[in-house]
Symmetry: C2
Subunit: 423 residues, 2 copies
């Protein structure tokens, strides 16, 4: 990378050429000097969410009161689900917004295992998000520990050998479930190939799209995916703990059953029938009253992303992460940093991890002294999220430069390795 | 009731003597003429929620960004749970705010049935909320249809004979689960007696407090209750689809296990341990990322209620509902209305149902023409919720008077019986 232009001016030139740069104005920037590299953990506040929530509070709740359930709210899980759908390549009638990612994962894993009762292997990988593993372990326990959780290993902690993954799927496999983009290294699975192999073997596939939706193209219908879940507070910018979404392929909906039967998943919630009777479509996977304010925030937050289009967002994600990697190689490698994400831009999402033996303390110094907000991930990763709609090349340049300052000036040495509750 | 003073002046006199009248100022009243009798379905917007959400958006999300997880949000499920706790008679460490009522019910029913594996009967009643029945049916299905759901009948559709209920609990009973206040008639169970009988028989007890919390005294610790869930968008005024709460008695927490294992229910969510390892306390019943904005809304919404104190709130609930029943007997009974709630104020919550053969159409007319917002509940109930913090005696008087107008002028006859999606 000896030809990398390391000057700030090069970043500024890239920003000037960036046709998505205008979308930055869609978001709140309360501190101009802050370098925010954590949009993959909590997306920035979209300006239109402020307005939408204000209206929801004052007009819909304050003035409309219970009437707003009829005029706007009751349809929200489906309506907002349909708004998410184009971002994940889903045609109508297959997506709803509800609950949390882990709860939705539980529902769909239980549904999938019931559809493949004669099979006892769940295939996942070592890079999957721990909460997904916990859900799988919990499902296996509920079902009497009949299932074996096969975690395909990662040899480098960064990638999963795709052939090894495909080879792990066979006629004992009930379900293959993976994070489409892995939470730490940002590795991007070849979802079409995995789905095809699973179907050849008669298994179902469930994608966790939390780290890919809004950053890379997702084509559930085209892949032939069976099931998917994802979170909305990362690249979809819907706010802390905003509701998740779930996808069930249309022709599975009739036979798949939610393990949690609630009134919003009933054919006629307000008939107050004493017996559960699910509708034929996707709404059978709803459970209780949906969290309306957060669903409306999501609906508003999606507008800039839908307007920009996922192809351009992905193009910028690849350019931003490549630029970061070039700078890291040139500027940070001499200080002991190592890129812990795939170097092929087609095989990664919109975040990059850098490994360093003092990562935790460097991360603390970046937050406390340098006005940089990265994410630390155990044991030694500084994870840098580059949400394409609002992250500039200048942000990337400044972020790398400030990391350089922390290590070259040994500013991290005054911090301890004692972990804060959330890092 | 021939001595009932039917004049508006009598209502105004009662309001003048009401020492809770000032709490009305805590809430948004966008339409002065509106008679809102649906606070038991969606509580009014508390003014301080507007301010709290504004601050959460602008300062915490917009400015603080991911840092707010450390400073405020991470502890919210526990902190807000502890704020709910005094309203349900729970000492510290037994309540968290999370998910929906139905999801929480699922978690606790599954936990309870696992603790009583040798028993196969679940006792509930015919007046329980249908979503609770669906959850129970779903749990029974997941567990291989081993359980029998025994629904103690209601002879009048209003009350449950307490002796019949106590007699239904025996050594085959795994779990007794009931709505503390029933959703339609407002019948209030004798929770202490039911809990005592269940424990004598070796069964566990789970109370759904959705229609009682914030309206009547709840004393979970004193009753010796095992488990409880409840919703927060009714008398707790936390907004549409706001998160629910759950309670697990301290000395059950170690042996009880959530059926849904997620990272917020892990001992160390940010250690990213690949294996599920629950903490010893109540947080093992959390699952995914909690919906923060809604939890903060709840926290703010609770302040006036905690300040007023549940004893005074309950006192006013009894007076308001008694006043409504007196007026209904005097003014509406001649038009075919029948009180479908308990007449003993100690045996009901803060809502009263009135039965009429044209209830659906009368309800439509009240909404469309009379600026009254009641709730219709199948098949023939007009349900009137009198949330004590902001409902006045004048509201009750006006509500009854406008119902009288609708029936005496036969205004309902222009409406059909075709149901709207939410009513």
């Amino acid at each position: 990378m000896e030809n990398t232009d390391l000057r700030l001016a090069s970043a500024q030139r890239l920003d000037a050429q960036d046709d998505l740069a205008g979308y930055r104005n869609e978001f709140v920037f309360a501190e101009s000097d802050l370098v925010y590299m954590d949009g993959n953990s909590l997306g920035r506040l979209p300006r239109r969410v402020l307005k939408r929530i204000q209206a929801a509070l004052e007009s819909e709740w304050g003035r409309g009161l219970i009437r707003s359930w009829n005029t706007d709210w009751y349809e929200a899980p489906v309506r907002v689900g349909e708004t998410v759908a184009p971002l994940i390549g889903a045609s109508a009638g297959q997506v709803v917004v509800s609950d949390s990612t882990s709860i939705n994962l539980f529902k769909l894993v239980m549904a999938a295992l019931a559809l493949r009762e004669d099979r006892t292997v769940i295939v996942t990988d070592e890079l999957n998000f721990p909460s997904d593993l916990y859900v799988l372990q919990g499902c296996a326990r509920l079902l009497g520990e009949r299932h074996h959780l096969h975690r395909v290993p990662s040899l480098d902690g960064i990638t999963i050998d795709q052939q090894a993954l495909l080879d792990a799927i066979d006629e004992r496999t009930a379900l293959v479930t993976l994070s489409h983009v892995t939470f730490k290294s940002g590795f991007l699975h070849d979802a079409a190939a995995v789905t095809e192999r699973a179907h050849q073997a008669g298994a179902l596939v469930l994608w966790d799209l939390s780290h890919s939706v809004g950053a890379v193209p997702v084509e559930l219908d085209r892949w032939g995916a069976d099931l998917a879940v994802g979170c909305t507070y990362k690249y979809l910018n819907a706010g802390p703990g905003s509701p998740a979404f779930l996808y069930v392929r249309r022709d599975l909906q009739e036979e798949a059953s939610s393990p949690i039967w609630g009134w919003f998943g009933h054919r006629a919630p307000f008939a107050f029938d004493p017996n559960y009777d699910p509708p034929s479509g996707i709404t059978r996977f709803l459970v209780g009253s949906p969290c309306i304010l957060a669903a409306l925030a999501l609906e508003a937050a999606l507008k800039p992303l839908l307007d920009a289009g996922i192809a351009r967002v992905h193009e910028k994600a690849m350019r931003l992460t490549s630029y970061l990697i070039e700078l890291a190689d040139a500027v940070l490698a001499p200080f002991g940093f190592e890129v812990a994400s795939p170097r092929d831009p087609m095989r990664r999402g919109a975040h990059v991890s850098l490994r360093h033996e003092d990562a935790y303390r460097i991360n603390r110094a970046l937050i406390e002294e340098m006005n940089v907000l990265p994410d630390f991930r155990e044991p030694d990763n500084i994870r840098l999220g580059l949400s394409p709609l609002y992250t500039s090349y200048t942000d990337v340049w400044k972020g790398i430069d400030r990391i350089r300052q922390v290590v070259s000036e040994k500013r991290f040495e005054r911090y301890t390795n004692d972990r804060l509750p959330v890092t």
